[in-house]
């Protein structure tokens, strides 16, 4: 839940650039135009810094970044494995 909130806030405040006032956790971030190409790369950089975890290249796939829910479940899984 907390991961979802952190990601949602970051996307809304830093990446959406006023395109949306709220983001539904299930919304398709790319197809809806909420974030762009460089937004994805910023999101990777943010996750690495915030969660102190390096996202492997093979994990930078749309399936993990498609929505807030997809990204938070990917992160929860990775962080659980790390601990």
């Amino acid at each position: 839940m907390e991961t979802q909130m952190i990601i949602n806030n970051f996307i809304l405040n830093e990446l959406a650039k006023g395109r949306k006032k709220t983001i539904n956790n299930d919304e398709d971030l790319l197809a809806e135009g909420i974030i762009d190409s460089l937004g994805i790369l910023q999101l990777v950089a943010f996750i690495e810094e915030k969660f102190n975890f390096t996202v492997p290249d093979e994990d930078v796939v749309i399936e993990n970044f498609m929505s807030v829910n997809a990204l938070s479940s990917y992160l929860d899984q990775k962080l659980a494995a790390k601990h």
């Binding site: 006023g18 809806e32 190409s37 790369l41 290249d57 796939v61």
Partner: protein, 368 residues
Amino acid sequence: MSKRFLLLNGIAIINVVINHSIGWTYVAMFWWVHRYTALSSPDFSQLYSSTYFLLRTLEQWIIPSIPAFLMVSGFFAAFSAGKKRALDWNFVVSRVKYLAIPYLLWSTLMIIFNALQNTRYTLIQLLRMYLTGQAAEAYYFVPLLISLYLLSPVLIRLVNWNWKILLASTALLQALTKLADYPVIIGMNLPLTPFFSFINSGWFFIGHIFWFSFGMIIGFRQIEIKENFHKIRWLLLIISVVFFIAGIFEWEWLLIQSGQTWIGPHETLIDNLYSAAILSAFIGFFNIRFPFSKKIEELGPKSFGVFLAHSLFLIIAARGIYHFFPQLLGLPLLFFLILVVVGLSIPLVLMKMTINSFLKPIYTYLFG
């Protein structure tokens, strides 16, 4: 490696501003001479001066900027296709929308700016300007990128079918297009010269399709490509240096062959080989941190906004100096530095002001 592309975009946008600042510095050195000497313009006595060669070297160094943007865009198209390896048209429409709206807006601003200085356009000229990105020297890139995004679902299918054939055929197509540009550069009057000139138009995808395809293939096979380029990274760097030097000599040779005092910028085949080598080397050296990487990475996501806005502020700064401080035109390196600072800083300040104001909801329509 994906984070590396943020850095690459940041470097590329700084280089784009440097490139256009160099263009204005040439204008000051050759076409505005009458403003700071008793000579009449144009005057090419500063051609082959140390300042000229310094600027030419810098100009050659930053050639891979547009290829870098196109490569990152291709990478993103591959990312968006995901494991199903097919692009959703919603994605293409969304990308085109957020590229086209700010582009149309800034093109209109440029056209109004020129109209205020008594430049008049016919309807056909206006239409051509919007469709081919002629409102400012840099704008050809946007129609080019839009056309590549529109082609991306087809290109993804071709990657799925056989990525090696796609890479080889787009490389060959682009190389042949660049070869056809040589008669145009040196002013040979052949029956096909107008056609060669057309296919080498900046906005036309044929002459740039390799970069986008290359980015797509990197997107799908990034681990394999990263490791392979890492193994030959030093060789790639040496090849880059060889083509970099060859490009400088080639341009002077073409200038002599043309019989002209000056020829406008063209990206040659040697330039393309240099871009391919240096971009591959950049991937190969993925574990090297550059100075100021963090700051440059922060610039990466703002690159489209800077790209659109810098042209207008460079024109205003250059013409302002021409009218009010003409002595500065006689100090080309200082003039150049002023333009770089203006071209980078004013768009960034404008973007920051917009995002922190009531204009935030329209930020994306202004700066992408």
